[in-house]
Amino acid sequence: MVSAMVDVADVQGNILQGYRHPRVRHLILSVGDAAEARAWLGATVSGAGGVPQVTSQAPWDEKPSTCFNIGLTFEGLRALGTASQSLASFPTEFVEGMTARALKLGDIGDSAPERWPAPFDKPRDIHVIVSVHAKEVADLDRVQRQALQNARTFRLLGVREGFNFHGDYVHFGYHDNISQPRFAEIHDPEDYPDPQEMAPLGTVLLGYPNNFEGLLWHVPDPVELGHNGTFNAFRILAQDVVGFENYLTEAAKYLLTQAGVDELLPPGAETKIGAGLSREAALREIVAAQMCGRWRNGVPLAVSPDTPDPATPIPEKQLNNFDYAANSSCPYSSHIRRTNPRDAQIVQRVANNSRRLVRRGIPYGPPYDPAKPDGVEAPERGLLGNFIGASLGAQFEAMCTDWVNVGLQDPRVTGSNDPLIGANAPETGWFDVVLKSGRTFRLRSLPRFVRSRGGAYTFLPSVSAIRYLGSLGK
């Protein structure tokens, strides 16, 4: 079952490599008629009968104008008539579903599944999540029409639409999508200078070795169904941009009152942070950078601790070329260091590279314009995130429980949560801004900036698995 070679034409697209289309539409579906839904799945393999063809990871000659992909929840697999033996071979976290794991994911309070809007308020009805990527809205509409041409096959429960309003930038104003696991079978290491080893395929595909020496995730039965498949944590993450920006201001004001702030920002160094910035404005950017581990333009603190615009500019390609030495300038509590400690010393020695995730996210909602503050009815904005890995338990959940929240990986952060995405609350939330000397300034009253507004655990079957599911019951 373990093969070093992978038939990329059998793997759904957007897993090993991203599409980089600016628009996405997720159609959240419930199976209306199981036989028709199976026939529909079968048809997506070839695109027969006007049903959109599922996009695989096979290399393109020319980038298609639309891509079409399918994710299935556990309830979806059941609704399609998957044999119970086969259902039983799926891992517990997928069987239970995202809402049952709320406490592990920090989905509490406002983020609790009971507070999610439709269709995520009825998680058991969600069977299939179809994702369409395209450049134009018209293309999304067309593919949606084609996919849902037969009204009986599925019930459309809801739609979520995302738009990359500014290239790879996300709300909060950071450059995202820089660090991803890359695979020797797919990527040329020359193109991705990164001291981290290439990731084994088993990081993201079932049926291959992963980063845990000797450990293999169980491939759901039968092999046609499980092999080359993977799991996805689909998350709708609302971002409180106003709250975030306000907090940066408060933090900067507080830092200005602290003796020793000059070590963080030597007088006169404001211009290194940005042209024409006041001291407060420069400190805001420093706090923002320390929270993420990268300046908003993506330049890593580990490489350029003092300025987002080093004298010798860092080419895009080089933005991942770093790791965490013991005296690294990247705060151990920053978002990127929590979610990927790289080679840094962490408490769980065996886990350093084992929890890596493929991330495919596109923002939703209007970009925030500080010049035009939101009205009373602030629009919701955030990230439609897909966090993909061969084991939800060992990767996505493992990262959320012990690293993003709680912070067990380093005693200096234990008891605190990820400053950007953690389940923080002002009563107890804190974040340590780290100085070069190793001294810290503790920022308190850290609120929660990212709230969960929906989501589901899906299985992303291989193309053969889609064919297999299409043939069930025949």
Binding site: G214, Q348, E397, L408, P411, T414, S416
Partner: protein, 236 residues
């Protein structure tokens, strides 16, 4: 007549202590009520939580029934541990989140009791990654163990199996037992009479015969292994 009534009252007062009443309660009343108002077994281990205090110093109490229940079988288990002790300790050093761990033989069971930080599945997964191979020698001796070894290629099943052998931790506050019962059995299981708390406890112990009574005492709650080690200056 008053004398008779008094004697009856005295008799009833002492009744619960009598052999016959104990027999009736244990052998007749419990099965009757267990079938009339059944409760499902409670899952083992601490509840999920995002609060950091709940996520450090968690207890695992594994009770694993030996296949061979004779002294020979128990000795086999003792040897399996003894032979692998150094390997297991080395593994735990690298898992990094274990405060205490010990093996105990109680009756026909080999038990592993530990105090660990963080998520249970992460703990067991890291445990498999570092000492799976040697721990399999112990699991092999346990009922049902064959189905989950080698642990390295049965990771998910192994974790679920260990979880299933971890003891239910009865709620620390007496009346929270009601909440546990409702959580597992649904709204219909809501007990509307505080005086029935003893019965709920009895029925729960009927389906969870071995339990941990509460989540345990901690002298210095709230700190992880690494925080303690760092504070003492002994490295983490």
């Amino acid at each position: 007549m008053a004398g008779l009534a008094d004697r009856f009252e005295q008799f009833v007062k002492k009744l619960p202590e009598t052999k016959i009443m104990k027999f009736v309660a244990g052998r007749i009343l419990v099965p009757i009520w267990a079938s009339r108002t059944p409760v499902k077994p409670q899952p083992g281990g601490p509840h999920y939580s995002v609060q950091s205090g709940d996520n450090v110093q968690r207890m695992m109490n594994l009770i694993m029934p030996l296949k061979d229940k004779s002294a020979v079988g128990r000795a086999e288990a003792a040897l399996a541990i003894a032979q692998n002790k150094d390997e297991i300790y080395a593994g735990l050093d690298n898992v990094g989140t274990v405060h205490f761990a010990r093996f105990v033989i109680v009756g026909e069971n080999i038990c592993m009791f530990s105090v660990y930080d963080g998520d249970f599945t992460n703990y067991i997964r890291d445990f498999i990654a570092t000492i799976g191979c040697v721990f399999d020698a112990v699991v092999k001796l346990v009922e049902g163990g064959d189905a989950v070894i080698p642990s390295e290629t049965h990771v998910e099943k192994f974790i679920d199996w260990v979880h299933a052998h971890d003891l239910y931790q009865v709620s620390d506050q007496a009346t929270d037992l009601f909440r546990d019962i409702e959580a597992v059995n649904g709204e219909t299981a809501i007990t509307r009479d505080l005086r029935l708390l003893p019965r709920d406890l009895i029925l729960q112990l009927h389906v969870n015969p071995n339990v941990s009574l509460g989540s345990g005492y901690r002298a210095y709650p709230g700190y992880s292994v690494a925080e303690v080690r760092k504070q003492f200056g002994i490295g983490w």
